[in-house]
Symmetry: D2
Subunit: 460 residues, 4 copies
Amino acid sequence: MSSNSQWGGRFAAGPSAIMQAINASIGFDRKMWRQDIRGSLAHAAMLAHVGIITTEDERAIREGLEAIAARIEAGEFPWDEALEDIHMNIEARLTEAIGEAGKRLHTGRSRNDQVALDVRLWVRDAIDGLAGQVEDVMRALVEQAEAQAATVMPGFTHLQPAQPTTFGHHMLAYVEMLSRDRGRLLDCRKRLNESPLGAAALCGTGFPIDRRMTAEALGFDGPMRNSLDAVASRDFAAEFLFACAMCATHLSRFAEEVVIWTSPYFGFVKLSDAFTTGSSIMPQKRNPDAAELVRGKTGRVMGALIGMLTVLKGLPMTYGKDMQEDKEGIFDAAETMTLCLAATAGMVRDMKPDGARLREAAGAGFSTATDLADWLVRELRMPFRDAHHVTGRLVARAEAKGSDLAGLTLAEMQAVEPRITEAIYGVLTVEASVASRACFGGTAPENVRHMAAEWRERLA
Amino acid sequence: MSSNSQWGGRFAAGPSAIMQAINASIGFDRKMWRQDIRGSLAHAAMLAHVGIITTEDERAIREGLEAIAARIEAGEFPWDEALEDIHMNIEARLTEAIGEAGKRLHTGRSRNDQVALDVRLWVRDAIDGLAGQVEDVMRALVEQAEAQAATVMPGFTHLQPAQPTTFGHHMLAYVEMLSRDRGRLLDCRKRLNESPLGAAALCGTGFPIDRRMTAEALGFDGPMRNSLDAVASRDFAAEFLFACAMCATHLSRFAEEVVIWTSPYFGFVKLSDAFTTGSSIMPQKRNPDAAELVRGKTGRVMGALIGMLTVLKGLPMTYGKDMQEDKEGIFDAAETMTLCLAATAGMVRDMKPDGARLREAAGAGFSTATDLADWLVRELRMPFRDAHHVTGRLVARAEAKGSDLAGLTLAEMQAVEPRITEAIYGVLTVEASVASRACFGGTAPENVRHMAAEWRERLA
Amino acid sequence: MSSNSQWGGRFAAGPSAIMQAINASIGFDRKMWRQDIRGSLAHAAMLAHVGIITTEDERAIREGLEAIAARIEAGEFPWDEALEDIHMNIEARLTEAIGEAGKRLHTGRSRNDQVALDVRLWVRDAIDGLAGQVEDVMRALVEQAEAQAATVMPGFTHLQPAQPTTFGHHMLAYVEMLSRDRGRLLDCRKRLNESPLGAAALCGTGFPIDRRMTAEALGFDGPMRNSLDAVASRDFAAEFLFACAMCATHLSRFAEEVVIWTSPYFGFVKLSDAFTTGSSIMPQKRNPDAAELVRGKTGRVMGALIGMLTVLKGLPMTYGKDMQEDKEGIFDAAETMTLCLAATAGMVRDMKPDGARLREAAGAGFSTATDLADWLVRELRMPFRDAHHVTGRLVARAEAKGSDLAGLTLAEMQAVEPRITEAIYGVLTVEASVASRACFGGTAPENVRHMAAEWRERLA
Amino acid sequence: MSSNSQWGGRFAAGPSAIMQAINASIGFDRKMWRQDIRGSLAHAAMLAHVGIITTEDERAIREGLEAIAARIEAGEFPWDEALEDIHMNIEARLTEAIGEAGKRLHTGRSRNDQVALDVRLWVRDAIDGLAGQVEDVMRALVEQAEAQAATVMPGFTHLQPAQPTTFGHHMLAYVEMLSRDRGRLLDCRKRLNESPLGAAALCGTGFPIDRRMTAEALGFDGPMRNSLDAVASRDFAAEFLFACAMCATHLSRFAEEVVIWTSPYFGFVKLSDAFTTGSSIMPQKRNPDAAELVRGKTGRVMGALIGMLTVLKGLPMTYGKDMQEDKEGIFDAAETMTLCLAATAGMVRDMKPDGARLREAAGAGFSTATDLADWLVRELRMPFRDAHHVTGRLVARAEAKGSDLAGLTLAEMQAVEPRITEAIYGVLTVEASVASRACFGGTAPENVRHMAAEWRERLA
């Protein structure tokens, strides 16, 4: 079992074996068969419409392509490495099946605009799928937010509890992040939604083709304005990968929280067996595998992004074979995001917050000290910075006494600041704290309910 | 001159020296002084409007901040490392100058929403500056396109000449790329244009502040909808960096072409001394330093992007000190793009295409073979794939004869394909070739002129 | 305060202002002044030795350079942007000071080999500094390991407690990681330690210089074997950056643990004020800022690595101005690592583990279930997989009873597996568990003590 | 053919379908079957040796595993998704085949150390394969260097011809780069060559296993010193990926040169059909597809590196499921490097330099001006900087006259500098120039021959 059988040995057959191995793309670009056939159908219909081919030819092509699609769908299509890529595999079979007409299909078209078209269509389809999945995660978060709008929990900075917030408010923060991720996907879709078809090899074509007709048939906003750009550009692929990487990064933040929250020392939420793996001998051990995978997979999506930018860096116009490297990164990133979004939606729905534990944690650690300071400012017109000093002294006194802030008597408080009144006790509970932060965007349960309802409607 | 004086030695003073060195941000965040003061002015005006501070306090604050701005602008502000960051530097000086009122400024605000605000404002300003610069490069390209709309040159795939195109068409391809880069910057601007101010530390505030008022005063579309998101998110920074990285990548492609085109074996364009450096003893050596720097600087912008995504990966909510790492990458990327865009605009305007050399190159290598094949399809209704075979045989014959395609006699042509007529000579010149590719987006000079005019108008 | 004053406006002066701004490196490459002068001293001594310059010239050069060094050290050297870079700044001042002899210094040398030399020397110095700092962190970890060799704590997988381990063993795991980081730095040093001096512009020189002499004088193992490689290669810079990025990643893992461990729900360790920042009103809030910064700064080092590789990608030989982009990434990464290593060493020494808390956590959750299963295999010759099933049933019984494993009576145990004997209680304590894992590399305190002592010696 | 059939739809079955899809690794980790079986064989032999299992059990395990290996090799092994990974697939089949003994194999071992072992062995095998391939590329370059030791060509800086060099010298520059790449692979191999086996889940084991025995049997230098480190660390994977990325970057530089050199305007080398693809109608068009793919594939290797570092960033100890993400990047990078190295070796051997064209290019553009300046310094003791000014004036005169430097008469030269003698003509030819650069590492053909011979021997 030497390593030679794995590395290098297969290239003993010489240069042609090497070239075949490095050059062929059919191993991965067959994923675009739907897009390739869709594009050819639109191209053929247009060729017939403007009279470049006959309607008989067009019908033969159409029926031939539909038959090929059916065979691929059924897993019966004879893919051939020697035909290198998806385009030649399909065209060769078509010509085999329908003869002469098949040879006319490529009129006014080139592999350069054909592949640019296929990749665009594939990315567009991927965006539609992923944007839908992002919305589903958002819906799941909104459901949790509505259910837990008033469930108090510690709000964190630096992984240290800072002020009380609610579980619902926390969920909605992710809704905001994901709504921007969705916006980035849709902006990318909008920007890429122009048809490269008709750019031919690079300069356009002398045939009187109708680029607007194919663009419209394929759901594009119109044809691209410059043929060189059409075959040379892949910024849409990089933009798609960035949108994925950014979304993956947001999911990784949520996943990190799930990992931390499900550790026994936090114990903030529980995940069912569906999203954890256990140990046959340690029943309490629930490894949050799904969350860890979502977190870890950020790496490969960032890698795909960097890979694509690196491919394009310093590439002279127009098409270079380097650009064949655009596909695998896209395919892998889209597949990864599909998994991560599905897993996240699942975890959000599965997750059970432990209300009692969260309430207890929210109240610990003088968490309403800010509320006390704000009271001093508001009621006693104390300058903000001075109010902080007074609060610090009150907290120190409570700490010395071993109580929380509400455990100080009014006399004890007045010893620090004589103008303090009984009214101060009204701001020292966790519930008062969250309720008071009621200005737009604040953590108050009524805000959370209102915002969740608004999102629910928008996502309906 | 030992290395110890550079590394480690300075930390002999112990933990506090280390913590100061790693923690202080005033060394770089002072770049945001304009944004910090702008934000404080808006905040103070709002506090006075809703009655949290008096109008006298507001005036004192306003005048104090304006005085500070003037001192900073004049380079006379005494930055203090011990005050750590831009916010404390300014607030401390303000309180020093105006007393009590200064201590009230921070009411209903926290460093967390303040810094989120400053960074957003800074990025928004940067986008405005860079989008304007992108437009300037586009204008420069359009000028060249109009001047060289009919200047034929070889169109390349794989750095091999493929078909004749025009210099103008080539320039316009970059206009398209840059217009998408501009679109990405503006989409980023639109998405980030919500105010985090009022999120306070993380949960919002109990003070009756008016977030819509500050948002409007600062030119935002409105306040952010979730306070946790407001202080925890930096996707706008990553999106900005991606928009920069993508644009830098496009500039690197142009720069690569400049480097190749100015090599003596290509000799397609000349750059003046303004953008090259020479050798005192090799006068013909014009090193395209500016282009190389534009190409190379892609690396640091991509690095900044990866850096930002890495910072955010797996970061639990809300604010973590890790996020202090958002600034330097943004500052460096914006500065880098400013330089690269200025240099590119300069090179585009400076660049002189060598028309004769380009014309000669465009005609070499049977560059109109595609036109011949298309003629066979169009005029003789030959299937596309068959037409290619015939063309291949004609080219082989010309090559054997040592002539170009137009150098074959009609008899020689008819020996290969008897149906060929005299008319074929009409498609074999470079000029006929480019003129024929007149469908939308094609390389025909009339197209180029039309499209350049359209862009000129849009950019006016 | 419009944005125009920041962006673009400064280039109103035209191309020369742009070119100056993008081209000049003196703003950052002056960091290499020590290396530049060291290289020139060695070069001059060699020129005199082989008779290319006179010993008088050599003395004048030496004294001139030493005077310049003194002025730079004192902060009094008049850096001049117009002289572009560190090399010309120093050479110009030298010639100003000593006349004719200064003009002879550059004989048999070029800026291309000079800058390659300076960067190599700088990186070598940085490695020496950083390797020393890595050792210091290792020493700090070893000290903690010795002090806490027997302090039991939960060992984690998936952030879920899995088996008892000791704090010392945990510390030593990082010693191993850092020792490999150190190895990578030293391998990089070894590989780069060849002198490019003498490669001149790119082809070597016709002067009878002695490359071995300068190589030796500068502490190199010898001269590089190929002049083109000498001026064209920067893999040493990328390798250095990778060594830094890998080490930063290890530090980020430790930092993450510090952040988690200091959260109140874990409460595993305490950090003093030296490495945390507090809140004036929440005394219990100790934000682990230093740890977060160490964690976050991983991003910029990874960014610098990607930046360097991107610069080099697809760069034709030999020197291109793109390569000027090598420096800032190196400088920033070295500075960042200096800070992060100093901060980590500081935190390791500062950190106080809470032994009682760790002991309690180590014993919770049936943490010795594996020990029980292993007993079944060892004593009853039960197949491993079967032993796991029996253990699972025992744990379930203990859980139902509300006890830990040692709380089950022998009868209760025998009800599940009759062959179990009293001896089993000997493996159910946390202390027995850690002590039993005594094979090489295992968690037993004796192992930890032994290994810590070994490391202490190696690091002495 | 809606996109729903591709995205999301498959998860209709609910959480379990999602978890299965995101969690299972058998789809890719089966690539490690050889390593997994090798590890199990060594583990079983050791278990028998120390008496934990019987020799009968060991024989049954051995024969069972060999039978499984044979079935996998033959493509007949029934991989099962439900068994998740390579380890369980093999163990389950083994137990099915040999019963009880199979259940004992996992004694004193855990999936955590098993997978760490497999990945290490796989990477070690990959390094052995790739290092051999790097040597093969080096050999191919040395062959070209020997054949073209005296073939003059222009040496470039900034893609501008600078001084004459030789094709052989240029080839040897890449030999140097690759020898460092090989060194990095081997350093990585050395550093990773310690056995994690025996770390068990994370803390080691209480069984009296002999870690040195398995380490030796598997070709390791010894067992790892810390069990937590053994299961938690993947720096070896990142280091491997960096070594690949650096090598890929070097190959990308060579590939870029091939692309540029084969463009018709350079015409420096020719590649056969084996490594180019043509156009059926443009016979002169030889697209350097292989070179472009080698250049472009740098992106995915850099992406894999970044992906791995990102996975590890901020990961608390020890094993987290995130680390399952280590494999696909490694597999893809190794496969990519295999292809790129094979293609590069092939291209180097296939490549035919056009000596006449290179000679002509080498002589153009006053390429020996530096030699002239050096003559002035050497013979007239002119200070280097002054010699440059004189040379500049001579070049200007030649340029005005339309001749090269040797075309100036002695009188014309002396008009600029009276001390110039007839002897100067001896340094103005290309051949004299390259021959004169004879100091160590210089471009002189004798150097090239000597160095090539040395490399040939070292690589034998």
